[in-house]
C-alpha cells in the first residue's frame, strides 16, 4: 500500500515533469521552511519542496564551503547540474544566515526569479504586523509576475482548502502512528511524507485517503519495542529509516521542521491574510528557526514526549545547522533532568555509509530498552 509513495520518491524528476505537463502550472521550488504552499498554488503555481537530497556534491563545492549545511549544498547542486531544469522560480524564507545568503547566491548565479518571505523576529506587535503585510505584498506580487496569474479570493480559498486538507490527512497518519506504534514501517511513514513534497496536493490527498483507509486493516505488532521521538530540521536521509526498521525501533512522533512542525499547522486563514500568515508562521509548533518566546520549545517538547508515549528523544542533527545546534544542549539537559533519555546523532545528507549511524542508533536503543 506504500508503493505509490515509494514510486514518487525514487522518481522525483519524472513525477514533477509529468504533473507539470498535466497541470500546466509553472513549477516553483520551495526552500526550507514554512513558505505557505497555499500562496503559490493560489497564484497558479505548482510548488515542490526542496529539503535537500543525497546527490554527491560535484559542482556546489565551488560556491558553498564545507561548513554550509548539506541541505543548502545539495539543493544548489540540483540547479548547478541542471537537474531542476523544470523549476521556474525559487521561494525562500529567512530561516537562517545560510539561506539568506543562498538566496543572494541564486540571484547572482542564475536568472530564475527568487521570492523571499522574510520572517520578522521582533516582539513589537504592530511592527510585526506591518512587516508581514509588506512581505506578503512583495511575495504575492512576485508570484503573480512569475505565473502571470492573479491571486483571487476564490483561488486562495481553493488553495487553503486543498493544503489544509493535506495537513489534516497527514495529522491523521501521525495519530495512527502515535496510537499504534509499529503499524507502519518507519521508512514507509517518512516516504509518505516525502512524496508530498513533490506531488501536487490534489493527487497527494487522494493517495493519502486511500492509504488511511487501507491502514485500518493493519494491526499493530505485538512485541514491545522502544519508542522514540526524533527532533531536528529534516527527517532525511530517508534510507536511515531502514535502520530503525531493522532494529525494530519505532519512531512514534517527531519534532521536525519538515515533519510535525509543518504538518501541525492549521488551515491558512484567508479572511485576514496577514493574521493568517502570522498564525501559520508562528504556531502551533515552535521551531529553532522561528523566534517566538511565547511558544517555549522546552515545555513543548516535554509535552510531546508525554503525549506520544516516547521512551526517549533522538536529536537528528544535520551538520552545520546552527539554529538547531544552539538549542540542543539546553534542551537535552532539560529532558535528562526530567528523566527522559536523550541523545544526538549528526549527519550529512550526502552520506552513503550508514554503519556508524547504525551503531549509534543501536546504542541509543539499548539505553531505552534499559
Amino acid at each position: 500500500m506504500f508503493d505509490p509513495f515509494h514510486e514518487v520518491v525514487t522518481n522525483v524528476s519524472k513525477t514533477i515533469m509529468q504533473f507539470e505537463a498535466q497541470l500546466r502550472r509553472p513549477v516553483i521550488g520551495v526552500m526550507p521552511a514554512y513558505f505557505p504552499m497555499e500562496l503559490i498554488y493560489a497564484a497558479g503555481g505548482y510548488p515542490v519542496q526542496l529539503w535537500g537530497n543525497n546527490l554527491t556534491l560535484e559542482k556546489s563545492d565551488a560556491y558553498l564551503q564545507s561548513y554550509c549545511c548539506s541541505i543548502s549544498r545539495s539543493v544548489l547542486e540540483l540547479e548547478l547540474r541542471e537537474i531542476s531544469k523544470m523549476v521556474k522560480a525559487y521561494a525562500f524564507t529567512s530561516l537562517c544566515d545560510t539561506l539568506i545568503n543562498l538566496r543572494e547566491l541564486y540571484r547572482r548565479l542564475f536568472s530564475k526569479p527568487t521570492l523571499q518571505l522574510s520572517i520578522p523576529i521582533t516582539q513589537t506587535e504592530e511592527a510585526r504586523q506591518a512587516y508581514i503585510k509588506n512581505v506578503l505584498k512583495s511575495v504575492t506580487t512576485g508570484l503573480e509576475e512569475i505565473t502571470g496569474q492573479q491571486i483571487t479570493q476564490a483561488s486562495l480559498i481553493e488553495a487553503a482548502t486543498l493544503y489544509g486538507h493535506t495537513r489534516s490527512l497527514q495529522r491523521k497518519l501521525y495519530n495512527i502512528r502515535r496510537q499504534k506504534p509499529g503499524i507502519m514501517k518507519n521508512h514507509d511513514f517518512y516516504t509518505v511524507l516525502k512524496a508530498g513534497f513533490f506531488l501536487p496536493a490534489g493527487a497527494y490527498n487522494q493517495l493519502l485517503e486511500t492509504l488511511l483507509h487501507n491502514l485500518e486493516a493493519l494491526s499493530q505488532p505485538q512485541d514491545s519495542r522502544p519508542k522514540v521521538l526524533i527532533s531536528g530540521m529534516v527527517f532525511d536521509p530517508i534510507d536511515t529509516y531502514k535502520i530503525f526498521d531493522e532494529l525494530k525501533f519505532d519512531i512514534v512522533d517527531d519534532d521536525l521542521a519538515n515533519g510535525w512542525r509543518t504538518v501541525s499547522k492549521e488551515n491558512l486563514q484567508i479572511e485576514n491574510l496577514v493574521e493568517g500568515i502570522t498564525q501559520y508562521l508562528f504556531n502551533p509548533a515552535p521551531c529553532c528557526c522561528i523566534y517566538n518566546p511565547e511558544n517555549d520549545r522546552h515545555t513543548y517538547l516535554l509535552n510531546r514526549v508525554k503525549q506520544s508515549g516516547a521512551d526517549g528523544v533522538l536529536f537528528w542533527y544535520i551538520k552545520f545547522c546552527e539554529p538547531d545546534a544552539f538549542d540542543r544542549p539546553q534542551l537535552m539537559n532539560r529532558l535528562k533532568a526530567e528523566g527522559i533519555p536523550a541523545a544526538f546523532i549528526d549527519m550529512e545528507l550526502s552520506m552513503s555509509n550508514f554503519e556508524a549511524l547504525k551503531t549509534r542508533i543501536n546504542a541509543f536503543c539499548e539505553i531505552l530498552e534499559g
Partner: protein
Amino acid sequence: MTQLAAYKKMKELMTNYYIEAKTTREKPIAWVTSGAPVEFLYAMDVLPIYPENYAAMCAAGHQSIELLEAAEAAGFSQDLCAYARTDFGADITQGGPVAGLPPPNFLLCSTNICKTVIKWYEVIARKYNVPLFIVDTPFLHDGLTKELIDYTISQFKDLENFLAEFTGKPFDRERFFEVLSLSSEASGYWKKMLYLAKEMPAPFNSLDSFIHLGPIVTLRGTQECVDFYKSLYAEVAERAAKKIGSLPEEKYRVLWDNLPIWFKMRRLEKFFEEKKCTLAVTTYANSWGGYSNIDNYQGKDIYEAMAASYLNVYINLGFEERINYLAQLIEEFSLTGFIMHSNRSCKPYSVGMYRLQEELSALSRKPGVVIEADQNDPRVYSDAQVETRLEAFIESMRPINN
C-alpha cells in the same frame, strides 16, 4: 604593528571599561551584540557589555582554545560561531583575560550582523533567566526601504519603553540625543582615520585598525570614545602628512574582507610586512564608521537616520551592493588586490563569498583570493595552507606604480 602613541591610551580605556563592568554596583548590565543600538543604553545609564569583543580579546590573547573546549564539553557543537562558543566557555569557566563577564540583567540583540546572535542570546537568556530585547534589522536584499526604516523605528520606540520600565525611570530623550551625537562624532573620527589609508604609503594598516577597534565597539556614545578617536585621528593624520608609512616599504595594497583572524595577528602582520603588502582597508572595521552618518541626516528625523545606519551595515547588504561597495573601495584606496577571509564561524559574511570573489575580480580587474580560516578557533587554522595561498596571490598582483 604601527607604533602609535594612542595604543597605550586605548589599553587604558579598555581596562577601565572592564574594571567598571566587573565592579559596578549601581549600573544595570546588558549584554549586547556589536551592531546593537547601544545609544539607548548609555542614555539610561545601562552598562553595555560585548561578548563578541570579549571573545575576540580571548582569542587575541591566545586563550580561546580552552574556552572553546569548555563550551564543546557542555554540548555546544564545533559547528557554532566561535565567538558564541568562546563566550559560552568563558561563562562556564569564568575564564579569559578578565575572568569572565559580569552576569547580565538583560540582553539586547540586533540582527544586523547575523541571525546567529538570536540563538546565542536565547541560550544566555535562558541560562540567566533575564529578558532579551531584539531589534530586528532585516537583511537588505533590495536596499533600504521606507517600510524597513519604519519597522526599525517602531522597535526603537518599544526599546525606549522597555528601558523605562526596566530601570524604573522615564526614558531620557535629551540625554539620548547627546549620546547619539557623541556616538556619531566618534564614528566620524574613526571613519576619517580609516580613510587616511588612501594615502600612499598608508600611514597605518588594517591590523592596526582591528587592534584599535575596541572603544568604537564598546564605548560608542561616550565622551572618552570621542576624545580617543580624535587623538588617534590626529596622530595618524600627522603620519600621513609626513608620509610615514605603516610598512618600511609598500609594494602592494589590499583589502581584507571579513573578521580578523584574532589569534594570528602578529604572525600575519609579519608575513604581510615581509611581502611589502599593506592591508589598507577592511569592510569589517569600516562597519563602525557607518554610524557617523547619523549626523548627516540633520534636520531629518533622527530616528530615521539611526534606523538607516543600523540597517545599512555591510554584512546586512545584498550581494549586488556588497560587490559595488568593494569595487568602490578598491578604486578609492588604489588597491592592487583583495583578500577574502572565508570564515568558518561567520556564515553571513562568508556564504557566497567565492561568487563575490569571481565577480569582484571581473569588475575591478584586480586579483583576489579566498582563504579558509576562522576568527577565533585556532584548531581549524593552518599556517601553511593560508600562507601558501597568500603567497601565490601576492605574486599574482601587479605592484603599485606599475
